[in-house]
Symmetry: none
Subunit: 122 residues, 4 copies
DNA sequence: GTGGTCTAGACCACG
DNA sequence: GTGGTCTAGACCACG
């Protein structure tokens, strides 16, 4: 899976990596149990510091998306915990985006289509 | 309209103000043409720096949500530009949230319900 | 509150800081709402890098023990979430220690006394 | 006695082996004088490196829990030294866990029950 | 002034 | 080889 960094984004690099891996897991580009690139390999490939990648992985690990071991590096977790709820931050963020979408004249159907797309079987 | 700030949020205060005003316009608590409090008044009321409020207003102005003039202060714009599209940033953010929702086991219907709620007539 | 680092310990420095702040909150040396030293101040005082202190604070923040804001630095949270349960890691660790205590001939009463002491009103 | 390894735990594998053998001795699953599997046998059975098992055994030997000789392999020691004291590391660790338990709202009685359980006659 | 991010580079234990 | 930790030093946005 290719990870692309927008160096002009306000979103920190480690967060962008974290987000893209989460999205990769959700949309099936990363399978349960699949091996992630090593911290060093990904850092080298992306031209960034290993600490930055490490921070992304540690975040993913703390959130229960991946597991790391010293021998094999990082893998997508087989059973990701299902809280059944959006975090407060995501809930607010979603409300904000819906408000902005409405004000921009985005059709409600387009938003729903995005959800359908995101929930499609992979 | 009451604006509530979470001073411990990772979201900058000026951004929280900006977001809540946008949401207020979207859900009808703020009407087109309606007068906003002055920078000084809002800053005083919320116990924060005027610079912070000013930053929020400037952002809203730049985005086309409000108009300011020296005489009348700030008002909600009568005709907000309707790009008919989500910004790139919002598009990505929405995809991210949908991915996380799905992985957390949030029901697709709950997300759609939030959209319906946000688009309800006011 | 004085924080002491054992530089020969296997426990990472950031973890030692984190642990001592948690213990300080529990035993009343740090009160709810109390200001913590700034990242820079603590780093300087302890002769370590700001990143190391920052890591400790971020861990405490993620665990819900403290809150940070840009203006005032870090504070002990007023209401710490009460899961009512030990983490798996702490549960195992406690079992291990009890086993080792027993084998070393430590009196059961001494362990219970430590618990009583730790739960005393402050 | 079955030893279970969590390869994704932050606790090193050799430490997990060491801990489980100590717990086995304490709770009577391993009797004084009882033979332990050879390093090779255990490593083969668990699918891990012999070096890792060897490290665990060496640690147990250094701590006085087991004895090794070339002819008979490793055995649980007949008389384990009873220092009557917790090590400094365990003392600190126990204090930390008690602090976290208290802050999490864990009932004091639950901790005491764990001690009673760990000290039950076998 | 505050915390947050990032780099370049180093060292470490584990396995 | 793997992830984890730490430093020295820099730059950033926020307020």
């Amino acid at each position: 899976m290719v990870i692309r960094i927008d160096e002009y984004s306000d979103v920190p690099i480690y967060q962008q990596i974290r987000d893209q891996i989460v999205m990769g897991i959700s949309d099936g580009r990363l399978r349960a149990g699949e091996q992630l690139p090593t911290v060093r390999a990904l850092a080298l490939e992306m031209g960034i510091n290993t600490m930055t990648v490490s921070k992304a992985y540690q975040s993913l690990k703390a959130e229960g998306y991946i597991l790391t071991d010293r021998k094999n590096g990082a893998r997508v977790r087989m059973e990701i915990a299902r809280s059944k709820e959006l975090s407060d931050a995501n809930l607010w963020e979603l409300k904000r985006i819906i408000s902005e979408a409405r004000l921009s004249g985005v059709d409600k159907k387009d938003l729903i289509a995005m959800i359908e797309e995101g929930y499609k079987e992979k």
